[in-house]
Symmetry: D2
Subunit: 281 residues, 4 copies
């Protein structure tokens, strides 16, 4: 038996659940996990069905198209992989990169890192340790952004990763990048968005005197720090904290929240719609 | 349209979801919320379906019986209520009682407290403030347990509450009680069970030097502190804590965890089976 | 022996701790709890010392003045009370009010509510239940704000509470109010500030698709939602949540965070400075 | 200026704080961080003072001896290090090991791993990647425990690490080991101790139906799973979890809680006494 995941969004209406369940039964499938939710504000129905079958992904897609047309669905049929490919973009801070490499090495994440791109060379050793090619794409001067962005795009087109992870990559990406890669690019922001957008989030948090710090993983859109949120978490801030210790404690949050979002994406648990996400557990 | 909730447990098998969904469609129902899970260790399927319909509870039960027989289901069809009745049993500590009374008064819980029983008189004033009858059932002597338990049973039979809540009631209940009322009795224990069973849980926790304290709400069974767990939560313990301050901070946990379990029960979100529960969110 | 609490802020320098400890010893005091922190960004030292003594508060203040002058301290000597007086301002939602009343009734908070003011009459019954005077001060028309604010000020001047609590009081207070009462007024905001300032915080949070909701208790300043933060907490938001269910789950957060801030204030654990607070635990 | 940390435990009495602060001033020290607590149950005073000075550790120890004798103190003067040495013991699961190696590589922990010992060979590659010697010390047969334990002791005596970390090392250590190394050995247990001692903690947790899973880092004593607790944390368990998914989600907890305990130890923030710890923040 093979495993497949069906994800769908459509206008809410009576009968969808029965129709989808009947389709799964008709293709000889056995549901192993299912989740659904209604977004009553937008009048939408969102569902995830994970099931075993002995058909092919192509055949499933062909037959589900009929159901989907009936309910005006936006949908995907996905096949879980044990080794999705990741491209990781970094700058100088290595905690998220090492965390991802370790998780792939132990099999905690069903993936392997096949490309690492850095606009600084600091993390070349991390790549070397795990035998992953490292592309050093520095920005030579203020005017050289376009050239660097073009080289980055080339590297990603070559690598064709299933997912691109911005692991504390400290450069703004151009609209052309988000248009081409945004739906499969996840960024980690070092605050509880929408609080403290932009740079220096821990300093901002310290100055405002908040009692918790946060991290947010989101899909990348043209609108910076505004993409659909996939995962968030917070940790307690003490009055003994300085901007520097907040940043230190924030690193654990960033690694965890990013890994959680990457896992949810790779397990086909995320449906993004209307600038929001549903993450099925 | 009326609202109903279907809860079921049965041996896992392909086709159940489709069959249940088809039944809901057949009775003209519209699913507003659904959750399901498979207990692969025990080979069981557990589902909750909340749906709108224009039939009656009796008619639903009659027609679902046919489906249930097909899959060997243990099942219930419940009708959500805006004012379920609660009997609350207390001793001397009032934080859980006041919390429940406040939640019923503001409509936060879909219930009203109709009976309060105390083996001490300390909380008579709380009952009076909210206009609820208070039954003072003290244990006159060591040998008077049976008489008190009998009076308690009489009071509960008279009141016929939908749910009995042990809100820091500090007496052990006899097997006859748990047999008659256990399935609709929720207790709050002042630790993260199974750690620190029995009395003086905060002192035990302090002596062991744990870094978190907890609270556990569970259904009541003959086996003390062993009933199916409905809700648990923890809070951070500081080295500055004494057994007394742990108890003070534990009160917030107890009130919250108990209220959470009461809400889940009243909203028909709990399925208890094999000494465990599934709580659908 | 009497208990006293010393709170101080001053420019950081070597020798302060020894000087303060020597003073406590000189007045025959025994330190039972002490906390200190350095704000290296602002070059400040902040300390809290709780100690037993057999002097008087007046004598302590007189003798500490000499130490304070030496280090250019802003300081207070406070005497813990078992029954501080609270004035609570409310609108229509009663969860924070009932929570505070319950905590005072059980002795959980070392205080009693002596005045309740509502711009709506909805919570008159809550006041009555606990035997607290209720002042109904409605805003008769758009132009009647000033009159209502004046009546409110009169009521508070009469009551002379140790602390004023805005328990979901849904009106903006004028600068004259914050100037007179701000330092002893605590507000609860229904978001993780600085995210989602202003009204409809749960709807804003839902629309942004955040994965956590929050609540923030802060001192009241002329700058709305910008006062020094005393306490914050968050709870997980599920994709099944609507703005309404977020609001429902947010109520628990609001009650808890507000009570936590009120407790910290009443136990003289909060030092506000530079738009921030240190809360000693 | 040099940095030093003073840790002390002694019978509680008035005047200690002033005496210690006077000593710091007398040696020309400037306190940068200080914490203290009273264990009223045992009548003890516990303090940590971090200070800058321009003396030597030896001179500090000599002069503090006089103060310590006066109050019957158990005490240490420690010098913070930027690169303490760690020996890590592992079996087959690598998540804690990779986490520690990554934290040392990025400078997140002020340490470097100088020795890795495995009773299985599975994690030899992890050691190789980070250039750390790997000692494969298998247990050849049931009767070969003593030989393996002896080889382990030799390896650790050779390495002379500042701290030994049991990073999911799945063998029981003999009393001779705990006697020689226990005070500087930290273990991670995969439950919220004292719940679920022994092996298969996640399966035990699943069977009991708890709603939270936990992890506990503790010093190693002869009494298995009973050593002084340094750090604990929990994560929410869902009804969709199986023993396997609990174990998967528990790995994040284990890595984090272990790293937190290692950090606290290396920063000289932990005082162990009476089977408990105080961890200063």
């Amino acid at each position: 038996m093979e495993r497949a995941v069906l994800l769908l969004v459509c206008p809410d209406a009576p009968g969808i659940v029965a129709d989808v369940a009947a389709w799964v039964a008709a293709v000889g499938g056995n549901i192993v996990d299912a989740g659904q939710t209604s977004d009553v504000e937008h009048g939408l129905f969102i569902q995830r069905v994970e099931f075993d079958h002995d058909s092919t992904a192509g055949a499933l897609r062909a037959s589900f198209g009929v159901v989907a047309a009936r309910w005006d669905m936006r949908w995907q049929v996905r096949v879980p992989s044990r080794s999705a490919t990741l491209a990781v973009l970094v700058s100088k801070e290595g905690h998220c990169l090492y965390d991802l490499l370790g998780r792939c090495a132990t099999g905690d994440l069903p993936a392997r890192v096949t490309t690492i791109v850095g606009n600084h060379a600091d993390l070349a050793q991390a790549a070397e340790r795990f035998g992953v090619p490292f592309h050093h794409l520095p920005v030579a001067s203020r005017d050289a952004s376009a050239a660097q962005e073009s080289a980055l795009t080339d590297a990603l087109r070559d690598a064709q990763p299933d997912l691109i992870v911005l692991a504390r990559y400290m450069r703004i990406l151009p609209p052309a990048f988000t248009e081409e890669f945004g739906e499969r690019t996840i960024n980690i922001h070092h605050s509880f968005l929408p609080a403290f957008v932009g740079a220096n989030a821990y300093r901002q948090a310290w100055e405002r005197g908040v009692k918790l710090i946060g991290a947010t993983a989101h899909y990348v859109t043209a609108d910076l720090d505004q993409g659909p949120i996939i995962a968030q978490d917070v940790a307690r801030a003490s009055h003994a904290d300085t901007p520097a210790t907040l940043a230190r404690r924030g690193r654990d949050l960033e690694s965890l929240v990013l890994a959680s979002a990457v896992r949810a994406h790779l397990e086909h648990r995320v449906v993004a719609y209307q600038g929001r996400t549903v993450v099925f557990e």
